[in-house]
Symmetry: C2
Subunit: 491 residues, 2 copies
């Protein structure tokens, strides 16, 4: 069933409201009603904000309205942070005011496990039948960089828009992801924390993201699904179109129990979900880290990333570990072709190197000019799809600086990054194969913070040039394997 135009249209005032009421706005900086108001103000929301509180007055330079009815003109969207006990009358006021959508941050409903909580939540969802879309309760709201709407606490999320649509029953995960995303250059079209999901939930959001032209990659954290058959039908219809990365939590007995007291959902069996997801072409992940890495890989490896990988770096265990972990993930590290290997051998000393792939150049301080020859070989070789280059900055920067007795000089002076980036760009341009960098951090010593500073700087430069950077080879390989498996599905 294709979505109706009105279904998609109904989301417009929610993601792009021109006027916004914060019901339960507060001057107390520990209250949700203050935190969410501040966040929306600070991120620079483009529309008009109306704080609402029966006490009136002024908060953060904005006039406070004593009731919704007092607000002049229409209100598109309302953020609600008032106690559960007065929620129904407030929703009735919203209905009368003609509000198009609300997000309810308040908790104390289905997730309490009480009959009272369940009943109250049922009554909330009835308001949705009248056409007003309801997000939550027990959620952190919506982040939409294009309009400047943000979640709790998302005041410092990026204002750049991007292709990722994210849906989550956990508000905490949204808050974490928005933060982590910043440094990784992951940008969102919309992020929706929908909590208990009494009206808008996984199915509607999936359907919206499939239709939304601004969303190219969909990711989500789900605990329970509002309508399993519809959910799977939607996913199957999308098969081979937009990538969908899902973390389905609560798949163990204990996890299922925790889900119930978190958002009042039902977890479901692992085998059933895994089978259904496989059929529907969903990329299933099992942790926040894996979720983030997969999103990142889909953004930075838009095409061409294949399963036959050349791994290159210095330090032997790296190459053995690479081989083991890539093979476990369904990728391969094939030998270079005899002709390519012959050429490579001619330009390296015969000892201390393993050139057949994985390529172990013996030590981590290999100058980019030498690494470039290996990259060229991997580019030329018809049996290789993807390159992974490992650089352990501790050795390249700290050890080299120490050896040449220049401990007073900044680490960046010893960096291979400018030359290596150039090599990456030329090889990628010439052979069209994606290049992934692994920059493992092998010290978390409090005294060596300058290495972490340099590492982030180099990562940002590679990223800005379109090369993904992972903090370990294992994470790079796992993320690549998700992209490869997805591409295999697209004919």
């Amino acid at each position: 069933m294709p979505h109706s135009l009105s279904f998609i249209d109904a989301f417009h005032p929610i993601f792009y409201p021109r006027t916004l009421a914060v019901i339960g706005a507060s001057a107390d900086p520990t209250k949700f009603g203050n935190i969410i108001l501040s966040a929306i103000q600070e991120i620079g929301f483009g529309g008009k904000i109306y704080p609402v509180n029966p006490d009136g007055g002024e908060i953060k330079g904005l006039k406070v309205f004593r009731s919704l009815a007092e607000i002049p003109g229409p209100v598109d969207f309302a953020v609600i942070t008032i106690p559960a006990s007065v929620l129904l009358s407030t929703l009735e006021e919203c209905r009368q005011k003609g509000v198009k959508g609300v997000e309810i941050l308040t908790s104390g409903f289905k997730e309490t496990g009480t009959a009272e909580g369940r009943q109250l939540e049922g009554e909330i969802s009835r308001f949705a039948l009248g056409g007003m879309r309801v997000l939550g309760p027990n959620c952190f709201g919506i982040y939409c960089p294009e309009s400047g709407l943000t979640i709790l606490p998302g005041q410092n999320f990026s204002r750049e828009t991007g292709p990722v649509g994210f849906l989550s029953q956990s508000g905490g995960l949204c808050a974490d992801l928005g933060q982590i995303a910043k440094g990784l250059g992951i940008r969102f079209s919309k992020m929706v924390s929908y909590g208990n999901g009494c009206d808008v939930a996984a199915c509607d959001l999936l359907e919206f993201f499939f239709a939304d032209p601004k969303t190219g990659v969909i990711a989500g954290y789900v605990e329970g699904i509002d309508d399993g058959p519809r959910f799977l039908r939607l996913l199957r219809e999308n098969r081979g179109k937009k990538p969908v990365i899902l973390w389905k939590a609560g798949l163990t007995a204990t996890g299922g129990r925790a889900v119930q007291s978190h958002t009042g959902s039902l977890g479901g069996s692992a085998a059933v979900w895994e089978g259904a997801f496989r059929q529907a072409g969903v990329i299933q992940v099992y942790s926040a880290e894996e979720l983030i890495d997969a999103i990142y890989a889909f953004l930075y490896l838009p095409g061409g990333a294949g399963p036959r990988v050349a791994v290159m770096g210095g330090g032997g265990a790296i190459s053995v570990a690479a081989s083991d972990s890539l093979e476990r993930l369904g990728l391969s590290v094939p030998y270079f072709s005899p002709a390519v290997l012959q050429k490579l051998k001619a330009s390296f000393p015969p000892v201390g190197n393993s050139l057949r792939n994985p390529v172990d150049l013996g030590n981590p301080m290999i100058p980019p000019s030498m690494l470039r020859r290996v990259m060229e070989a991997a580019g030329e070789d018809g049996g290789i799809d993807t390159l992974i280059v490992i650089q352990i900055l501790f050795y390249i920067l700290y050890q080299v600086r120490h050896r040449v007795g220049m401990a007073d000089q900044p680490l960046s002076r010893f960096s291979f990054q400018p030359e290596l980036l150039k090599a990456c760009q030329e090889i990628k341009a010439r052979y069209g194969k994606p290049i992934i960098l692994a920059l493992p951090d092998i010290t978390t010593d409090g005294q060596m913070i300058d290495l972490e500073i340099e590492l982030r700087k180099e990562r940002d430069i590679y990223q800005a040039a379109g090369f993904p950077v992972f903090s370990s080879l294992d994470r790079a390989a796992r993320a690549l394997s998700h992209v490869v498996r997805f591409r295999g599905m697209v004919s």
Copy 2:
């Protein structure tokens, strides 16, 4: 078969040499012969160092001997970095000088896969038959903080001694581990990079570490085993005594191939090794990260850590994720007993919290005074063995500082650490249950480096007080599961 005294005694001049020759010492800072000499000098080796090079002269303030024979008095141990072609004559000189042991850093032997390389390596190992122990070739040597001997490049390894005995076919992994260990407070009795292992290899080192009173926890990275039946017999004899953590690499087809060109070993089948390790009570790990986390857990959780875990923190997905990942690892997150839960409920508001375990206190900025009540409940509850406390410093420090409008103040001003540490200490003292901290880093933004600085500072303080700190709940749980499985074997 118990080890003979002479077998163990033969290692003494290797780990604690009074006199040390560096054969192939060089003034060129890019050569191994310079790097290893500098490293041993800089770490502060306690014995006498004799550089040897036919050119003579002086390097780093030390007189260079033109040959081993020129050195006055006996030489206990020799570090050899000369080309493969002149190795045999040098070993003969060592034999004549009465050197007790040598480490050969040179590569170009069995790992080349050539008949010539294999033959040369066979001839090296014949010198060992005469009583001189040979480490390597193709290795990075020995690190022994007690004597001040160190590997290549280990000039800044810790001089503190500790209980971990580490054996590795990868020198690169030794170099990484020594570095990572510093910040984590992991200290070694001895670390041995044995490369191709033509004489001293996994079996001898295992037997030595079992007998060594200074070694309490044994860990290792092995590619091939010199004598499989002896190796497994040694492990079985140790069952229930010292924990042995092993990363057996090369268990996949590609990994096995990489092993061959790395140290010339044979990988072997995954199923066979996994079965044998299980029988022998070995803690098997599959990556450097898992290896390090397991060593760390054995050091910081010396007793009492059991499988029934109370997990506490703020943010809902944390609790669901905790439940899923702990159960997958064979741990459990049982409900608190009704009496304990009753007491707990009385001191928390009824809404926004999930108190049954995992305990989700609704938001990450929970003051330690509240968290302490949950810790007390977990301490009191007879059904709980181990506590995991999650603290997301980004929210506790950055968000709180932002809310109170004090962006110019240092992050540490907002820290819960002093109060939380006190709570950890009191609860641990009162109930005797281990407490693990998870301090996830949810930003790697270049601009927010002060958070990383504060994180390392807090980690160091918890660690110094004996509380292990992991960077994620998943890593904490995996490491705990290794300790729990091992303790289950000890009656």
